[in-house]
């Protein structure tokens, strides 16, 4: 009996796993550190909770 073949997983992508803009990430982290992120959930009700 021929073994069942599973659909191929998407090929690993550099775009999905590597940070292409490290300088922007550093800047974003610094800016977000000065932002009151606890208000996000309050201002955007209905955000879907994380999966899993």
């Amino acid at each position: 009996m021929k073994p069942k073949t599973l659909p191929a997983a998407p090929a690993p992508s550099r775009d999905d796993h590597e940070v292409a803009f490290p300088r922007k990430m550093t800047r974003a982290k610094a800016l977000l550190a000065k932002t009151n992120l606890s208000r996000l959930a309050e201002l955007m009700p209905g955000l879907v909770p994380p999966r899993g």
């Binding site: 775009d15 292409a20 803009f21 990430m25 974003a28 996000l40 955007m44 879907v48 909770p49």
Partner: protein
């Protein structure tokens, strides 16, 4: 500096009617590539979403966008393309945001310009697309470190 947060797509409606370039997504839609076409030829562009912060249960992704130049490993987010298609490029980036949020509905996207001039450019472009954008996503600005609903005509200074 203007900071923006976008989250929770309600629909893929008016934004798809704006002129934009076809996007090539990576398998998990954390990155999108497209080509800008204009007087300076075909310029390869990359839009990337990278996890930058976890706000409680909400993952915050940084939106980065720039030119992919041949022979360079790292895209250049300071390149001045001058390819005469700014609005079409911005509409394409907006579409990438929508497609990212569609694949990752729990995410919040954080965006700011890489320079003050670029931030102003993005803000003007966003103002023109605002009805379409606000019909589809939550859009927040930040004033003095406090996120609030985005309004046109008010510079949001960090």
């Amino acid at each position: 500096l203007v900071l923006l947060f976008l989250a929770a797509p309600f629909s893929l409606g008016p934004l798809v009617n704006l002129a934009s370039y076809p996007l090539t997504p990576s398998p998990q839609r954390y990155a999108f590539r497209f080509a800008s076409e204009g007087p300076r030829g075909s310029l390869a562009k990359l839009v990337q979403f990278s996890l930058v912060e976890q706000a409680g249960t909400i993952p915050v992704y940084n939106l980065a966008f720039g030119d992919v130049r041949p022979g360079h490993n790292e895209p250049d987010d300071l390149a001045i393309s001058a390819n005469g298609d700014t609005e079409k490029v911005l509409a394409t980036v907006a579409q990438a945001v929508m497609l990212f949020l569609e694949a990752h509905p729990e995410a919040v996207v954080f965006a700011t310009g890489s320079t003050p001039a670029r931030t102003r450019l993005y803000q003007m472009g966003l103002a023109r697309m605002l009805p379409a954008v606000q019909a589809e996503v939550y859009l927040l600005g930040v004033a003095a470190g406090e996120p609030e609903m985005f309004e046109t005509g008010r510079m949001r200074r960090f």
